[in-house]
Symmetry: C2
Subunit: 398 residues, 2 copies
């Protein structure tokens, strides 16, 4: 029987994950792959995560609070205080990763047929969640040439209709690496205020901002505090992607109370992972400094290496750990498949995420890839050396 819902059939497979079978085959064939296709850092997860979990000694692994365990909520409150943002207990919901935070938020603010504006290119799963929520993704085109920064106010406002419910942004940007300036953040805040829109601000890369740029959170603008929903996660902050612990934060207590109903429907997040996540917030400031320095170094290495490869165009990313690179090929997805299937350098190859999946505008990003600089210095250098040679080989083999 194939009478599946339209929403599921219209949902595209994750461009980050759909090439996994080619990678599996390459590994089965004995190739080593440098994975720059997924935001899975090689940074060690702080040890206090497992230590806290190992100390769990309840005899029954019971349901916990639908909102999240109080200790974790307190830890999140303390963390935000460091950034001069003050949240109360009933302004926070713990979720199964930033993913569930985003899906539940969408369901709470938009009905079937409503519209959400998202700067493009964007984190590909946004479109997937919109599809299953029956919400239309309205792309706000940003350009590689301007480092994927926002267009002027009028261009943004042109996209607003009576169906528009929110503007959804990732800041720092995935896949763009862009960090919005204070002026850009204020521009969006002004638009949200004037047009009565929610701002859904995915700030899971908050700690990863380079060039001494100052990060401005939407949580720091009192004027629109009732309209701001922050999506958070421990995944990247503490290199704990497998924990699947995220959060929704909003000063709009009524909104939080509404979303809590969905949280109650799914009962709770895993107890142990919440205990581990609570402990993560006890890491020292030194941890953040070390990790930040490591990513900044990797970015510099990657950008330097990319500039040495003929035909590659990219901007130096300002934040997160991604860069969008335009390649001297026609179809980046075909190239990535070729890298996995038909190419190797001494038994080694590389994998990227074809960037087209980060766009909804037809054919946009077709010759681009997203590179995640989540490997150590040596692996990153080696991966770029492989890319250089692969690009020399590719035209000959086609």
């Amino acid at each position: 029987m194939e009478n599946f819902s339209q929403r599921i059939t219209s949902m595209q497979a994750s461009p980050i994950r759909k090439l996994a079978p080619y990678a599996d085959q390459a590994k089965a064939d004995g190739k080593k792959i440098y994975h720059l296709n997924i935001g899975q850092p090689d940074i060690e997860t702080p040890k206090n995560f497992m230590e806290a979990i190992k100390n769990f000694d309840e005899k029954v692994l019971a349901y916990s609070s639908s909102q999240g365990i109080p200790e974790l909520i307190e830890a999140v409150i303390r963390y935000y205080k460091k950034y001069d943002m003050s949240f109360e207990k009933d302004e926070i919901l713990i979720t199964n990763g930033g993913s569930e935070a985003l899906l539940f938020t969408l369901l709470a603010i938009a009905d079937y047929g409503d519209e959400i504006i998202i700067p493009e290119p964007f984190y590909t799963n946004y479109a997937g969640f919109n599809a299953i929520a029956g919400v239309k993704t309205v792309p706000l085109v940003t350009e590689a040439s301007s480092g994927f920064h926002l267009p002027e106010k009028e261009k943004i406002e042109k996209l607003i209709t009576n169906k528009t419910k929110a503007i959804l942004i990732t800041n720092p940007g995935n896949p763009t690496g862009a960090v919005f300036t204070e002026e850009e953040v204020n521009r969006l805040a002004e638009i949200a205020k004037e047009n009565n829109l929610f701002i859904i601000s995915d700030e899971v890369y908050r700690e990863f901002v380079y060039n001494n740029l100052k990060f401005k959170s939407f949580g720091s603008i009192p004027d629109i505090k009732d309209q701001v929903i922050i999506i958070d996660s421990v995944s990247k902050r503490f290199s704990a992607c497998g924990a699947r612990i995220g959060a929704i934060l909003s000063k709009n207590k009524q909104l939080i109370a509404q979303i809590l109903k969905i949280c109650q429907g799914r009962l709770c997040c895993p107890t142990l992972e919440q205990i581990g996540a609570t402990a993560l917030y006890d890491v020292s400031e030194d941890y953040f400094k070390r990790v930040h320095a490591e990513y900044q170094k990797r970015r510099d290495i990657l950008y330097g290496k990319l500039q040495e490869i003929p035909g590659i165009i990219c901007q130096n990313p300002e934040g997160a750990f991604y860069v969008i690179a335009t390649l001297p090929v026609e179809d980046a997805e075909e190239f990535v498949i070729w890298l996995l299937k038909d190419f190797d350098l001494d038994g080694e190859t590389i994998m990227f995420a074809p960037a087209q999946g980060f766009y909804t505008t037809p054919d946009a990003g077709k010759n681009q890839i997203r590179i995640a600089y989540i490997l150590n210095e040596n692996d990153l250098k080696r991966a770029m050396d492989i890319l250089k040679i692969a690009l020399e080989e590719y035209p000959k083999k086609k």
Copy 2:
């Protein structure tokens, strides 16, 4: 700002969880509460869960497969083999509890405005998931007097429209305690076949069947295998509710491939909890026997005690660990609030789930409660003694 979605505002708060603030206050006032309101067993979680997790020694807690870790999928396959059901790897998805399994299934088979038929009374969160998915819940009324068994075929078929996508059942039943006979299962299978409907069969209480009744899974009917979706969970089977590990199983590989897209969108389930859940499947047959005997004993005690209380009407439940009891009060929710706020017996009181939340038919179940027999023998007896005295006191105090 209060422009929330219609789907979220139309969603009722969980009747199982919404009285929690009264319970919190009662505890703050120093009362002890016997919690029979939630399906949280006091049975110890098998120790191999924590042991497996403590052995985890990867340095990076990384994303795992969106489908679920291979070891857990293999364990689920082996478990189903014991019940003579044969599933392959690409017919199983691991989920964040049975809750996510159900939500993703709904999204995959029904669009906004479609209809799902559910025997009523039903597990209350079904209606919540339907609400946020924009799917209409069509109640199939079953009666306390017939032990909540299904009406005849014609009555069920009358509810089918061109919008109907599936029949969703819980077997053994929550909150009813009913176990469908083989004939009832075949009746539904026939209806599904003739009308091209999916059967979503929530069988998380499969092990909890009493009176030597034989449990028949929808997974055992080859004739409609493409139409059957089984919702599973380790929560009750292994008293591991806080693990939040569930599964979707279907011989319809295309359906599984569609739902996998949503699973990829939320990346993966927590790694550690999957490792623990895998180990749970290594418990001995003796574990199941002991737990089964314990619940059967509790049921017998509860039913015996209920029969001694004047004015209470209920059937002896056949499975799961719930019973719906009709009380000699007008409004069971008011009674439960009174139990928490205004009553105690030597500093102790009791809590139940008012049953009205398990119905969508207006006013149905208003004088009923759901009792979860998840406490040990002594606590259960004491709780019933308290209930008896409370029912004597209640008319006087009103």
